[in-house]
């Protein structure tokens, strides 16, 4: 899957999960930058991402994804 | 690093200085305070005026013996030295202080002193620690590190500031009247008084109690051991212990613990352990009669 496609789909998931139609993603975006993105909603996000891209994360991998950029990289490695 | 240490030392010096200045200020007001509780301590340890009849104990004494009434009836000046919550270590140091200046004719000590265990009251003596060797001796014996802490005036007067300026001035020669309370409605409903506990008596407290009695007696004072009335059935074992302790001293016992002329009248009580002003009148009157019988006056 192309990087731009990943980013677009991911943006949709973010916007839906955090109820913010204007949310845009950047590589260095983190949880602190988005309203309502905390440990409570993080898992919901992860679940939605897995559904959207038809992939499965491992628990160990969660700690390695600190920014959206990390997230995109991880998704790409699983999709290809 | 050296600069930091210098600053630290400077701060510590300022701290000690400020503490001393505050101490002098607060100490000055402490001696002049009209606060009900602190007045008696000041009178006993500093301003004592050679009274003839002295009453020692805690709240069960300070709210019971009407000093001015005794003075009027007997012609002997009386002061109620009792102070809320104060136990035997306080009383002993106080007695020593007084005997150094003068020998009173009569001293009364409450037997409840034997079961007062909370040592917080010792801090009431701290303001006199520096200049009073008896206070010093007792305090140092109780805790060998107190002398270092007492270097700090804030420790001496800890938590006393508000009290010093809280002047209620309802203290007449040491006696503090308690009003007849609505709570008595509850007390007068009690038909069967509960059984009192068999209290533990700390050996060190017992030793000091005896020391107190012996010291007073050997100075030529007539000593009374006062067993206060309480709205409970006195536990026989406890009564026995107290009477035995007192028997080994030369004190005469005034035992009101099972006196139904008082216990049967709940309207004389403020709460389970204290008499109100009406009860104080009755008890003081009783005490005056005893003094007459014993030819004190």
């Amino acid at each position: 899957m192309e990087l731009t496609a990943i980013t677009d789909n991911l943006t949709n998931v973010f916007q839906k999960t955090f109820d913010d139609t204007e949310l845009t993603l950047s590589d260095d975006l983190t949880a602190g930058d988005v309203d309502n993105w905390d440990s409570l909603t993080h898992m919901v996000l992860i679940g939605e991402i897995e559904k959207e891209f038809n992939i499965k994360f491992k628990l160990k991998e969660l700690n390695k994804m600190n920014t959206v950029g990390d997230l995109i990289g991880m998704i790409k490695s699983k999709v290809s | 690093m050296k600069i930091f240490l210098a600053k630290l030392l400077l701060f510590l010096a300022l701290f000690v200085a400020a503490d001393m200045v505050l101490g002098m200020l607060v100490g000055h007001f402490h001696l002049k305070t009209k606060n009900t509780v602190l007045t008696n301590a000041n009178y006993g340890f500093v301003g004592y005026k050679n009274d003839d009849i002295l009453l020692f104990g805690a709240s069960e004494v300070s709210h019971t013996f009407i000093s001015d009434m005794i003075t009027e009836e007997t012609g002997l000046s009386t002061y109620n030295l009792a102070s809320d919550g104060c136990g035997i270590f306080y009383q002993y140091a106080l007695l020593e202080t007084i005997l150094e200046k003068h020998t009173p004719k009569v001293v009364l000590l409450s037997t409840s002193q034997l079961i007062m265990k909370e040592l917080d009251y010792v801090s009431r003596m701290y303001p006199y620690y520096k200049n009073n060797k008896y206070v010093k001796s007792v305090v140092d014996k109780l805790n060998r590190y107190e002398r270092f802490k007492l270097f700090f005036q804030g420790y001496v007067y800890n938590s006393q500031i508000i009290r010093i300026f809280d002047a209620k001035d309802d203290n007449s020669s040491g006696y503090i009247a308690l009003p007849a309370e609505e709570q008595n409605a509850k007390i007068s409903e009690i038909e069967n008084l509960p059984l009192g506990l068999n209290h533990d008596i700390d050996p060190e407290i017992k030793a000091y109690y005896k020391k107190f009695m012996d010291l007073a007696h050997s100075s030529g004072v007539t000593v009374y051991a006062y067993f206060p009335p309480q709205l409970e059935i006195i536990n026989p074992e406890y009564l026995d212990t107290i009477l035995t302790v007192t028997k080994n001293t030369e004190a005469k016992v005034i035992n009101l613990s099972s006196d139904w002329k008082i216990l049967g009248r709940p309207e004389l009580f403020f709460d389970k352990t204290h008499l109100n002003h009406a009860g104080a009148k009755v008890t003081t009157d009783r005490f005056i009669k005893i003094l007459k019988e014993d030819n004190i006056y």
């Binding site: 992860i46 | 690093m1 503490d19």
Partner: protein
């Protein structure tokens, strides 16, 4: 030897002196010796327990590193975690279990001569147990490599400022620091001493003073009326904050003086606008630990259930946090309540966000004030279960508050001092929360302002702090 004892005031400078005299490469060793000295001074026998957990953790983490297959690593991790948890279960929960068994047997009229054994809880056990578990899991998760020097591992587990009551630190933060060249420098001294001073203020002037009033009321629940109980219950969170928060600051300050950076444990919790925010500001190290090692794995496992998976994970996590404190029904209820509060918030979160956005309430003072007030009340309600100690008493408290009025019992002197301390604490935090860089006192640029502030706080502690003893409440956890 608690922080508020005379012994500690001698011990700590002695450690600094020793620290200073030791070459920086070996300062970790000085700390290790001091820590064991500190601990053995309190509970000699349990030094063995700490050592045992250290040895086990050291061996297993190194084995995990060496193992190649993930399945083997995972088994090793679980074994060590179980080993570490055994003493905790034994001391904390054995008596509860034993009582439970006793009660059940009695109900069936079986008088089995099972001795009712009461064990003295080893001080600090809940804290270093969690730290050791965290370290094990971190090695498994490849967050860090297993430490080869057993002395450093021993120091991590027994480090004296943290051992009594936290903050619950991470090996990833502490071990690299312990291995580095530890230095004493004026800046650390200054910051550390500031934290220590404020910590003592919170504990001795605020917490211990309020405790006097609250203890009298809660110690005689049958006698006091609803109004007095209400006041005591409203004040109790402040007491706990002064107590645990103050103690944490002392721990963090002591560590700072020794050149070590320990995570904050509290961040102005009573300015939280929701329970979710509250739990990011209250007992932060505990919640972070539970989040990383309990909540996240659980929520991850249940993520296919969406928001209900979150709720389940929350409930389990917070019930566990309750039991971590003590194996009593009251703490179970407390944990359960926290879970409920957070679950409800999580479920209503989207609706609330939309509401706030629609009416632009983010900047509304009234909205913020009401949120803070409501959050405080929720927390105070849950704390009743803790202070009342039994469920029956807690119910009595709520019943009296709701139905029994009367003349409120006030010890004016105690409450006056308590009020002074609380107001100063509140104003300091208010300033820090809403005007962070303004009106600084300890951090003011002018040395005269700083000195005056230090003097003011020190004198407050000396003159109106509770100086005659007083163990702090979180001690035996």
């Amino acid at each position: 030897m608690v922080f508020t004892s005379l012994n500690f005031l001698i011990f700590f400078p002695a450690v600094i002196l020793l620290f200073y005299l030791t070459p920086s490469r070996f300062r970790w060793l000085t700390l290790l010796i001091s820590s064991y000295f500190f601990y053995l001074n309190i509970e000699p026998v349990f030094g063995i327990l700490t050592a045992a957990i250290t040895i086990s953790t050291y061996i297993f983490t190194r084995l995990i590193d060496r193992a190649e297959k993930d399945s083997k690593k995972s088994v090793l991790m679980y074994i060590n975690v179980i080993i570490i948890l055994l003493p905790l279960f034994f001391f904390k929960y054995f008596s509860a279990l034993n009582d439970g068994v006793f009660t059940i047997l009695e109900a069936y009229n079986i008088r089995w001569a099972l001795p009712k054994i009461t064990f003295l809880l080893p001080v600090g056990i809940s804290y270093y147990t969690f730290m050791a578990i965290g370290y094990t899991v971190d090695v498994y998760n490849e967050e860090m490599k297993a430490e080869k020097n057993i002395g450093i591992v021993a120091l991590f587990i027994s480090f004296f400022p943290l051992i009594l009551s936290g903050p619950i630190e991470r090996a990833t933060n502490m071990i690299p620091q312990f291995k580095s060249e530890l230095k004493l420098n004026p800046s650390n001294f200054k910051t550390g001493l500031q934290l220590i001073l404020w910590g003592y203020f919170m504990k001795l002037v605020v917490a211990d003073r309020l405790a006097i009033y609250i203890d009298v009321v809660y110690g005689n629940l049958e006698y006091h009326n609803g109004n007095s109980i209400l006041l005591a219950s409203i004040l109790y969170p402040i007491q706990i904050y002064g107590d645990l928060g103050g103690y944490s600051l002392i721990a963090i300050g002591v560590s700072k003086v020794l050149g070590l950076n320990v995570m904050p444990n509290f961040e102005r919790p009573f300015f939280a606008t929701s329970m979710a925010v509250f739990w990011r500001r209250w007992h932060i190290s505990l919640i972070k630990w539970l989040t990383d090692y309990v909540y996240t794995p659980l929520a991850f496992t249940y993520r296919k259930y969406g928001i209900w998976g979150i709720v389940l994970a929350l409930m389990i996590t917070f019930v566990l946090s309750g039991i971590w404190h003590a194996a009593t029904l009251s703490f179970l209820v407390w944990g359960f309540l926290q879970g409920i509060f957070l679950s409800i918030e999580a479920l209503l979160n989207k609706r609330r966000s939309r509401f706030v956005k629609k009416y632009k309430l983010m900047t509304s003072t009234i909205y913020i004030f009401l949120s803070i007030f409501f959050t405080y009340i929720l927390f105070a309600v849950s704390e009743v279960f803790i202070r009342a100690e039994t469920i029956e008493d807690a119910i009595l408290v709520f019943k009296k508050i709701a139905f029994e009025r009367g003349v409120i019992f006030l010890d004016l002197t105690t409450l006056a001092y308590g009020f002074i301390g609380s107001i100063i604490l509140f104003m300091s935090e208010f300033r820090e929360e809403y005007f962070p860089k303004k009106l600084l006192f300890f951090k003011n640029g002018n040395v005269l302002v700083r000195f005056a502030s230090y003097l003011f706080v020190s004198l407050l502690i000396l003159w109106i702090g509770i100086l005659n003893g007083g163990q702090f409440i979180y001690f035996k956890f």
